[in-house]
Symmetry: C2
Subunit: 181 residues, 2 copies
C-alpha cells in the first residue's frame, strides 16, 4: 500500500466530492459548507485552494477532464466539431455555469486552478496530433478564441449555445486560410 500522499489524497477526494454535491444542488459553495460536508478542517481547504472560487474551478476542471475526454477522430475538423459539440453540452447542462461563475468571481483567474491549465495542455496535444499528420498547426488559444469563447459568451448572454450549423461555421473559420496560420 502506497502511503505517501495517502491522507492528502483522501482529503482532496473528500473535499472534491463535497464541493460537487453542493454545486449540483445549486447550493452556495463556501469553504465552511464544504469543510463540514467533507469532514475536514476548513484550514486544510484554505491552505490548498485559497478560496472557494478556486476550489470550484479545480473541481469543475477535473469533472470536465473525466467526463469529456478530448476527441481523436482522425481529422482536425472532426476533432474540433466533436470538441465544440461536447463543450456546448457541458456548459448548457444544469449547473454548467458554475465553472464560469467561479472564473468570474476568482480574483486569481486560472492561476489558482492547475486543472484548468492542464486542460489547455490536453487541447494542445490534440492539435499537435493534427499538425504531425500534416494538417494545420493551431494553438490551444486559437480554440479558446474561436470555439470556447463564443460558446461561453452565448450561454452567459442567455441566447443559448451555438447549434450544429453555427458550430460548423466557427470551426471552418478557424480552419480557413486566415485561421490556419
Amino acid at each position: 500500500v502506497r502511503r505517501t500522499g495517502g491522507r492528502s489524497a483522501r482529503v482532496r477526494a473528500a473535499v472534491h466530492a463535497a464541493a460537487r454535491e453542493l454545486i449540483d444542488s445549486d447550493a452556495e459553495v463556501t469553504v465552511a459548507a464544504v469543510a463540514a460536508r467533507a469532514g475536514v478542517n476548513p484550514t486544510s481547504i484554505y491552505r490548498r485552494w485559497g478560496t472557494a472560487e478556486a476550489l470550484v474551478l479545480d473541481v469543475e476542471a477535473e469533472r470536465l477532464r473525466e467526463n469529456s475526454p478530448l476527441p481523436d477522430t482522425g481529422t482536425l475538423r472532426g476533432d474540433l466539431l466533436a470538441y465544440a459539440r461536447r463543450a456546448t453540452a457541458d456548459i448548457t447542462r444544469p449547473g454548467g455555469l458554475a465553472f464560469i461563475r467561479a472564473l468570474v468571481l476568482s480574483p486569481a483567474g486560472v492561476e489558482g486552478a492547475p486543472s484548468v491549465r492542464g486542460r489547455g495542455a490536453a487541447i494542445q496535444a490534440m492539435l499537435d496530433r493534427a499538425r504531425d499528420r500534416g494538417e494545420a498547426a493551431l494553438l490551444h488559444t486559437d480554440v479558446l478564441d474561436g470555439i470556447l469563447a463564443p460558446i461561453y459568451l452565448r450561454t452567459l448572454l442567455g441566447i443559448g449555445g451555438p447549434d450544429a450549423r453555427r458550430r460548423e461555421i466557427l470551426v471552418d473559420r478557424l480552419l480557413g486560410p486566415a485561421g490556419a496560420r
Copy 2:
C-alpha cells in the same frame, strides 16, 4: 417644458449616476445602496430594473454607448479593427469587468437590459453599412462570436485581452472565405 416622463427621467438619471459611482469605487452595488445614494425609494428601482444586476447591466451598456460610438472608417476591416481595439480597452479598464460580472450573476441575462439589445442593433447598423457598400454581409452575432467573445473570455481567464496582432487575426478570420458567408 415637456412634462411627460420628466420625473421618471430624473429618477432614472439619479439612479444611473449613483450606480456608476458605486461601480467605479468597486463598492458592492445593492438596490439599498443605490437608492440611498440617489435619494429615491428602493421600490422605484425594483419596479423598473428588478434586480441590482439588471441595473448594472443597463448602466454599463449605456456607458459603453456613450463612451464608445461605433466606428465608421469606410471599410469593414477598419471598422472591425477599431471596434476590437475599443472593446479591449473598455473591458480591461479598471472596473471594466463589472459588466460581465453582472451578466453572469443576472438570471435573466440580457433580457433585463434593453441597452444591451440596443448595442446589438447599433453593431448591426455598422455591418449593414458595409454590406450596402458591397462588402461582406455579417451579422452582429458574428461579431459577438468572433471578436467580443474572445476579448471577454481572455479577460475573464486573466490572460489579458488580445494584442494588436491577435485582434488582426480575429478580424481576418471573420472576413475570410468561411467567415464572410
